[in-house]
Homo-oligomer: 185 residues x 2
DNA sequence: GTCTATAATTTGATAGAC
DNA sequence: GTCTATCAAATTATAGAC
């Protein structure tokens, strides 16, 4: 099953795993080559420049993430259920000491990344806030709710703090707070 | 004034500025050497290994930050005023496209940093949450307040999202939300 | 598509003169 | 303390054979 996926996909999977653990600058073509059992020049065949790799990484991650959001939409769980599912997606992305959201770690490195990668990260956050805005619109009595960008910020920050503290406490507390803010009205 | 500071201090200042802009891995000894007008071997004289540099960087940043927190304590502005001053410290650390909190960017890179640096970042967050816990304790009617670790997470995350979006919107909204949550009771 | 080979550059780090 | 000189290793990237 994993063996049937193309080399390009296997490289992207390896890259995503590594980047989400240690960041873009800390991953090399040789790391990826070793992971998938080829030489680094073969990795360059699929992704000529590292910027290309980063760009495709963000693209693939975003598409996968947004496909999950679309799925939530069609499930018609209601706005509160949708928010819960959204948070669950983020929760899934965090494995303390192993991975955070790709765009959390790339976002922190943003000022040292090539422009095309940055644009992808920005689009990811933009799409997330827009999706949340639509959910937000469907929640009655919108007073006291956190805005979409606050929700995204809080979740991304909580992932980073959780990683540093080696404990999910920060993330879990943030997730609960977001839900509490939107349920008691 | 700037000229009278020691070479060691000037190197640390240069390093802090750069790391807070682009991250630890994206800064080299030669960058710093050029900034302060010496050769890279001279930078190694002051900081033998890059890990030493990172460690001292976090130490200096933390001490400076916590000195500011001590200052807030003695000013006796009350718990709400103290919280406001705390957030102002974070606000000061964010210059979109130029710098975020040192521990936000190092926190994101945490899994690829030497252990001693990680310990410093963890201590920074720990001290911040403990300071906030004491403030928290002094706020009457503690229902519905965000916990200290949630506040720190939200502010750090907002810095990163603001950097990516090239707008302070995320940070400002987060700051206002924290204050609103603690004022209306 | 993958390989060997290698270029070109950068990087962290050290030895030893001054 | 700073310099020159240098090293070893790593990194991005390319040329050309198979």
């Amino acid at each position: 099953m994993t063996d049937t996926s193309s080399m390009r996909e296997r490289i992207l999977s390896s890259a995503e795993k590594r980047v989400r653990a240690v960041g873009f600058h800390a991953v090399s073509f040789r790391d990826l080559a070793n992971d998938v059992g080829v030489k680094s020049s073969s990795v360059h065949y699929h992704f000529p420049k590292k910027e290309d790799l980063g760009e495709q990484l963000v693209k693939r991650y975003s598409e996968r993430f947004h496909a999950r959001l679309d799925q939530i939409d069609v499930e018609e769980v209601g706005p509160i259920g949708a928010l819960e599912a959204f948070i669950a997606l983020y929760a899934e992305a965090l494995v303390v000491g192993e991975s955070v959201c790709l765009c959390a770690i790339l976002g922190a490195e943003a000022n040292s990344l090539p422009g095309r990668i940055n644009a992808g990260i920005q689009a990811f956050f933009q799409a997330n806030t827009e999706w949340l805005t639509e959910i937000h619109r469907r929640i009655p009595s919108s007073t006291m709710l956190m805005t979409p960008i606050e929700i995204v910020s809080a979740l991304e920050g909580a992932m980073i703090v959780s990683t540093v503290m080696k404990s999910r406490e920060a993330f879990d507390a943030t997730a609960q707070r977001i839900m509490a803010n939107h349920k008691e009205h």
